[in-house]
């Protein structure tokens, strides 16, 4: 068990000018579960592979514990990795798959057998130990891949989208299992996913990457309540946060017919327009004429809640040829949702407004 530290770690693929991972700085605590998340091509898998030693580091350093592992080969790093496609050795039995690393390390046979059996017990694989991977189901293969990592009791677990090949139901189940297993074993874990729900539910901390750049690294709660920029605000949360560009006026920002109070200090750091963000659950439906008018287009009823998708009515009236904006989403009481085609007026709840600089996308204020 150890800490992990990315210190300005950079990876530039040969033939590319733009780095795939650009000066990544993350400190991971001992025993922490860190999730790297981002859209495809953001460099999250590359970062993980750099930590595993499968990808060269072109700049900066990577530390595991107090060892500089930047130029060490994978076998000298004491890390275990779970691959997206499991990467089990097809010609070996489950037990041999799990014990392969120990066999290489020269552990004696009885000890290997003991540790494989312990891991198999944890993962409920005991009756499959003598089978070949092809005689297992997808979920079982995934568990064998986990087992292969556990058996080694390495300093760091690396997981590269280990759930993406499972069906939806199994994915949710396994998600919880992995998270609780990690807490129990207390091994520092770096987990890569493109699924922000996975990231939010599993991680002690979540790091959001985009185009090789770290956007924010925080606890899921903090990430949700306090996104550092427009990208994180739009990426984390489902349905996504509503983001609107609104003009700045005296004392605040114009929001439909209403005014959003924004401190003078914050306004001084913005231009003529700002981007405001508000989560669907932080929107109140108000009386007519108060706030932003929305024409209701779709209502999704989920039982307890209903999500109302509407377009700002005023925009359309102004210019009917204007491209349709992203719908504005409002969560309302599931028992009395507005009807399709209706016009409703909405206003953000106080204290739940996120304000961003429109040019830079950076967060303004707290």
């Amino acid at each position: 068990m150890a800490t992990v530290k990315f210190d300005n770690a950079t990876r530039i693929y040969p033939g590319n000018d733009v780095p795939s991972v650009d000066k990544l700085n993350i400190d991971i605590e001992d025993g922490e579960f860190l999730v790297l998340v981002g859209p495809s091509g953001c460099g999250k898998s590359t970062s993980l592979r750099m930590l595993a030693g499968l990808e060269e580091v072109n700049g900066g350093k990577i530390w595991i514990g107090d060892r500089d592992v930047t130029n060490l080969s994978p076998k000298d790093r004491d890390v275990a990795m779970v691959f997206q496609n499991y990467a089990l050795y097809p010609h070996m039995s489950v037990a041999d798959n799990m014990g392969f690393a120990l066999k290489i390390a020269g552990t004696d046979k009885a000890e290997i057998r003991k540790r494989v059996e312990e891991a198999a017990k944890i993962l409920d694989l005991e009756q499959y130990l003598e089978r070949k991977p092809k005689a297992l189901s997808g979920g079982q293969r995934q568990r064998v891949a986990m087992g292969r990592a556990i058996v080694r009791s390495p300093q760091v677990f690396l997981m590269d989208e280990p759930l993406s090949n499972l069906d939806a139901k199994l994915r949710v189940q396994t998600r919880t299992q992995i998270a609780s297993l990690q807490r129990r074993l207390g091994v520092t874990t770096v987990y890569v996913t493109h699924d922000q729900v996975e990231a939010m539910t599993m991680g002690d901390r979540v790091a959001v990457l985009k185009d090789g750049l770290l956007q924010q690294c925080d606890t899921p709660r903090r990430m949700y309540d306090h996104p550092n920029n427009v990208f994180v605000a739009g990426f984390i949360g489902s349905p996504a946060m509503n983001l609107l560009n609104v003009p700045v006026t005296e004392g605040g920002a114009r929001f439909g017919s209403g005014l959003l109070p924004i401190s003078r200090e914050d306004l001084s750091r913005a231009g003529n327009e700002i981007t405001v963000g508000v989560r669907p659950e932080d929107v109140d439906i108000t009386s007519e004429g108060d706030g932003l008018p929305l024409t209701v287009e779709v209502v999704e009823e989920l039982g307890a809640d209903a999500y109302v998708y509407g377009t700002p009515a005023s925009d359309k009236a102004k210019d009917p040829t204007a491209p349709v904006e992203k719908p504005f989403v409002v969560r309302t009481d599931g028992r009395r949702p507005p009807m399709k085609g209706e016009t409703i007026y909405v206003k953000p709840k106080e204290g739940h407004l996120h304000v961003f600089n429109m040019e830079t996308g950076e967060r303004i204020g707290d």
Binding site: M81, F83, Y89, I104, R141
Partner: protein, 327 residues
């Protein structure tokens, strides 16, 4: 030697029969046939038609009949062979005399049994050596990044173009200059090395393609598990490319076992080391007065390749990679 070629043919027929059965099944289930315009699709339809099957069966019979004739002939008496065709042989009794004579030898004719050993001594290293070298080279070409990798690979494969007949005499001179004769193992070394050299380009190419098919994550998993190149090669890759090793092994075995030209060139001065094929060549006697022994000798010499083929066949399994990776 030519009699060895038709042997695999019944297999082909069986394959076609299977393909045909598959085609019929499609019709029976009433599944709408896809109207693919691809050349492969056309070819597949062409060979599944009944006419094609009849043609294939006819070809198979045409190829195997002479072999069968040879087989029958090998059991006939000398005077029968010399006076009538094999198709008339069912009137007269069969005999094992030809086999006895060939195996035990006659005047001026060494026993064939002795030369089986020679053929073995030649064929085993001449199969294993190129297999090992080619597998190592293929691993490097497929999975290790080094400068000029692709141009070197093309160069290796391009060597395939050089006909061995052109390279033979320079090779003999080279081996003489190197003094191969005085090495332990003597002249056999020149045969082993020559056969390996001629086999390598194709072997490297074939095994390389096979190794490339193995998912990269499997090798990465092994690296993270702590395996170096040697361990990855022997414990992860070699078991997975067993079918390729077996098929190339069979080809090389048949080629070396049936080879006469290279053996004659390299072993010209030492007849006691000659393989079976060289004895087959001389068995009919200097004046051709014992040609009736040829059919029996030929069948003795093909017995082993058939056995090898059948025993290695179980390695031709598909789906060896199944289950390791997903997606």
């Amino acid at each position: 030697m030519s009699s060895a070629t038709p042997a695999p043919l019944p297999e082909d027929v069986a394959d076609k029969a299977v393909a045909e059965a598959g085609g019929d099944a499609d019709l029976q289930t009433g599944r709408p046939k896809r109207k693919t315009k691809s050349a492969a699709g056309n070819a597949a339809r062409a060979v599944t038609s009944p006419w094609a099957s009849i043609f294939a069966i006819f070809m198979a019979l045409a190829w195997t009949t002479p072999t069968f004739g040879l087989f029958v002939t090998s059991f006939r008496k000398q005077e029968d062979i010399q006076t009538s065709g094999w198709w008339k042989s069912f009137a007269s009794p069969f005999t094992l005399d030809n086999y006895k004579q060939v195996l035990q030898g006659a005047e001026g004719q060494p026993p064939l049994a002795d030369f089986f050993v020679n053929s073995f001594v030649i064929v085993i290293p001449a199969v294993l050596l190129p297999l090992l070298l080619a597998a190592l080279a293929a691993y490097a070409f497929a999975w290790i990044d080094f400068p000029f990798r692709s141009s070197l690979f093309v160069a290796v494969f391009a060597l395939q173009i050089v006909p061995l007949q052109i390279a033979l005499l320079p090779l003999v001179t080279m081996f003489q200059n190197m003094g191969v004769k005085s090495w332990p193992g003597g002249n056999y070394w020149s045969l082993w090395l020559a056969h390996s050299a001629f086999a390598l380009p194709l072997a490297v190419y074939l095994l390389h393609n096979f190794m490339k098919e193995i998912p990269a994550s499997l090798l990465e998993a092994a690296r993270v598990d702590g395996a170096g190149h040697v361990r990855i090669f022997f414990q992860v890759l070699l078991p997975l490319i067993a079918p390729a090793l077996a098929s190339f092994g069979i080809f090389q075995f048949l080629w070396v076992w049936n080879d006469l030209l290279v053996a004659m060139t390299m072993l010209g001065g030492s007849p006691e080391k000659a393989p079976l094929t060289m004895i087959l060549n001389t068995i009919s006697g200097t004046l051709g007065n014992r040609w009736y022994l040829l059919s029996a000798a030929a069948f003795i010499s093909i017995a082993l390749p058939v056995a090898v083929f059948l025993s290695l066949q179980r390695y031709f399994v598909r789906g060896l990679l199944a289950g390791g990776t997903k997606g």
